[in-house]
């Protein structure tokens, strides 16, 4: 199945047509989705596949559902017309007097793998963290699965509860952030029991499945301090995936790893991607990004400078993006 992909940006003096569609935050309303650059009308998206930016390289979401991650029902469970999983519009965020996001727009569709890259300090991580409200945006709209969570003008009653949001969005951190006082299994079962309210045996069962899917069930009784970085990160992925998220956020998941451990984590992520999981990945692993990114976003100085579909790393024309890609690849 091919899903139209769209990406917007604003305040960028480029040649892209996105500029012409700069959003008027003030007039933006609930349920009004199709304002992003090149967006297809909403009805079209669920009906026939609209012409897409990457039609030649359809990522094959309908592909082998062979992977035994407990997340496969994610997409089909979406109500009709809800193929947009995450939609950020005009997101602004300041730390003190420094604005780190100058009004960013991102749309993520079900099954899509979005890669965000760029130099450090460009706001990638902050952007990612606003998606599950670990950072509270100062301005703009954050819609996840059709519910508004952002500070955009919206009646309080209609705004979603951040707890609900985080229950649908999984996150993997650069520093793993496993709970050091709990075994690998308990790291996974904690939220299954306290958030999903599963019984102990059901939670154990689910956690075992998740750990098996990252190849670490054997290590279930080990504590994080007894695991390598790569293993810790895989447990962290299992912890997030076990909760059945509709989208997974990865914040530089391999940056804290020794080079020889990067592969095992990327392998798990690849498997997850193949299973159809919607993913947003901030990474410096551009080879990996080139391989799995359905949509690639280059950020710099708190703005989306350039974006493109599959093939972006070889075809993009933006000088700054080219320079950055060249310096990393």
């Amino acid at each position: 199945m091919t899903i139209p992909r769209e990406f917007g940006r604003r305040n960028v003096g480029g040649t892209d047509e996105a500029r012409d569609h700069a959003h008027e935050d003030a007039t933006w309303r609930r349920g009004d989705v199709g304002v992003v650059a090149g967006a297809a009308p909403r009805e079209m998206m669920s009906a026939a596949p609209a012409p897409t930016l990457i039609s030649e390289h359809s990522p094959g979401n309908s592909g082998p559902a062979s992977v035994a991650t407990p997340v496969d029902e994610g997409q089909s469970a979406l109500p009709e017309g809800e193929h947009v999983v995450v939609e950020l519009q005009g997101i602004r965020k300041s730390f003190g007097s420094v604005e780190v996001l100058h009004g960013v727009d991102v749309t993520v569709h079900a099954g899509e793998h979005v890669v965000i890259f760029g130099p450090s300090g460009s706001g990638k991580s902050t952007l990612l963290r606003t998606i599950n409200l670990l950072e509270q945006p100062d301005e703009g709209s954050l819609r996840v699965l059709g519910v508004e969570y952002g500070p955009a003008p919206c009646p309080k009653a209609e705004r979603g509860n951040p707890l609900e949001l985080r229950r649908r969005v999984g996150m993997v951190f650069q520093q793993f952030n496993l709970f050091p006082h709990l075994s690998a299994l308990e790291n996974v079962t904690l939220a299954l029991r306290r958030v999903k309210r599963l019984s102990r045996s059901a939670a154990d069962e689910r956690a075992a499945e998740a750990l098996e899917s990252v190849g670490l069930l054997r290590w279930a009784a080990h504590y994080p301090s007894q695991l390598s970085g790569g293993q810790q990160q895989r447990v962290a992925i299992a912890r997030a995936v076990s909760l059945d998220p509709k989208v997974m956020l990865f914040d530089e998941p391999t940056s804290a790893l020794d080079p020889e451990l990067v592969g095992e984590v990327l392998g798990v992520m690849r498997k997850l991607a193949e299973s159809g999981m919607t993913m947003v990945i901030v990474t410096h692993e551009l080879n990996f990004a080139r391989e799995i990114g359905d949509m690639n976003v280059f950020m710099e100085d708190g703005e989306i400078v350039e974006f493109g579909p599959r093939g972006f790393f070889d075809e993009c024309t933006n000088a700054r993006a080219r320079e950055f890609i060249g310096s990393v690849l």
Binding site: R166, H181, R218, S228, A240
Partner: protein, 260 residues
């Protein structure tokens, strides 16, 4: 005359009273510790929250860290009775005085322990959808307790020693017992040496106990007690782990992970 100056046998003779005094001191200190932990934790959380609350907590902490134990217990025992009509037993007054003083000290210990937990831990807890209170209870607190344990142990030893001051209100703890015996035997040196020995013995004992507790909280837990307490859980998880497929390529990397 010189031969009979130090009569060490009276220690044995009055062993019942001395041990009784020790028990009383430990009791007051233990009850005081339990309540102080609750009060201290509340103060620490208060100190770390928003403005009016944090200021009040800071005020409490700074006031009671500055009050000497003697003043505190006299104030509680006689002052509360006069002003508020609250007549506490000497035991209760001792406990309250300890809580006022050591609640403040423990608050600072807990605050630094809570602040030592990396921000990423809270974030990870929130990211899996846990409510803030649950993040605190299940993620932050267990780790903070481990950090705080050695200092709490020192505080407990301090509390036991502080009970010696409560002889002024007539609490029958070690010093008060010693004074009573001395009044009839005229053996101050012998008796106060015995009292000192009792305090030192308690300090060693408590230090040992808290070390054991601390070790049992380290992950993976070490020490027989922890192994015994956690045996069932360990077994349950080991059983699940055993179902795992054999080592998958990259998974064997760590090498440090010893068998369960």
């Amino acid at each position: 005359m010189t031969a009979t100056v130090f009569d060490w046998s009276i220690i044995w003779q009055y062993r019942g009273e001395l041990v009784g005094g020790m028990a009383t001191a430990l009791e007051v200190a233990a009850v005081g510790l339990l309540i102080s932990i609750v009060v201290g934790l509340a103060l620490a959380v208060g100190r770390m929250s928003r403005r009016p609350v944090s200021s009040l907590a800071a005020l409490w902490i700074n006031v009671f860290r500055g009050v000497p134990a003697l003043v505190s217990v006299l104030w509680v025992y006689f002052g509360w009775s006069l002003l508020l009509g609250i007549n506490l037993s000497v035991f209760e007054a001792g406990v309250v005085a300890l809580v006022l003083l050591y609640g403040a000290f423990l608050a600072e210990i807990f605050r630094s322990a809570l602040e030592a937990i990396p921000r990423g831990q809270r974030e990870a807890g929130m990211a899996v959808g846990l409510h803030r209170a649950r993040v605190f209870v299940h993620v932050v607190l267990p780790q903070a307790i481990k950090i705080a344990i050695p200092n709490v142990g020192s505080m407990f030893i301090g509390m036991v020693k502080t009970t010696s001051v409560f002889s002024v209100i007539g609490l029958l703890e070690v010093i008060h017992v010693t004074e009573n015996i001395e009044a009839t035997t005229f053996q101050p040196f012998v008796l106060y040496t015995a009292a000192a020995a009792i305090y030192v013995a308690i300090a060693f004992l408590l230090d040992f106990a808290f070390r054991l507790f601390e070790r049992s909280l380290s992950k993976p837990a070490t020490g027989g007690i922890a192994g015994w307490v956690m045996a069932r859980k360990r077994q349950r998880i080991a059983l699940i782990a055993a179902r795992g497929t054999a080592v998958t390529g990259a998974a064997s990397v760590s090498g440090q992970g010893s068998a369960v």
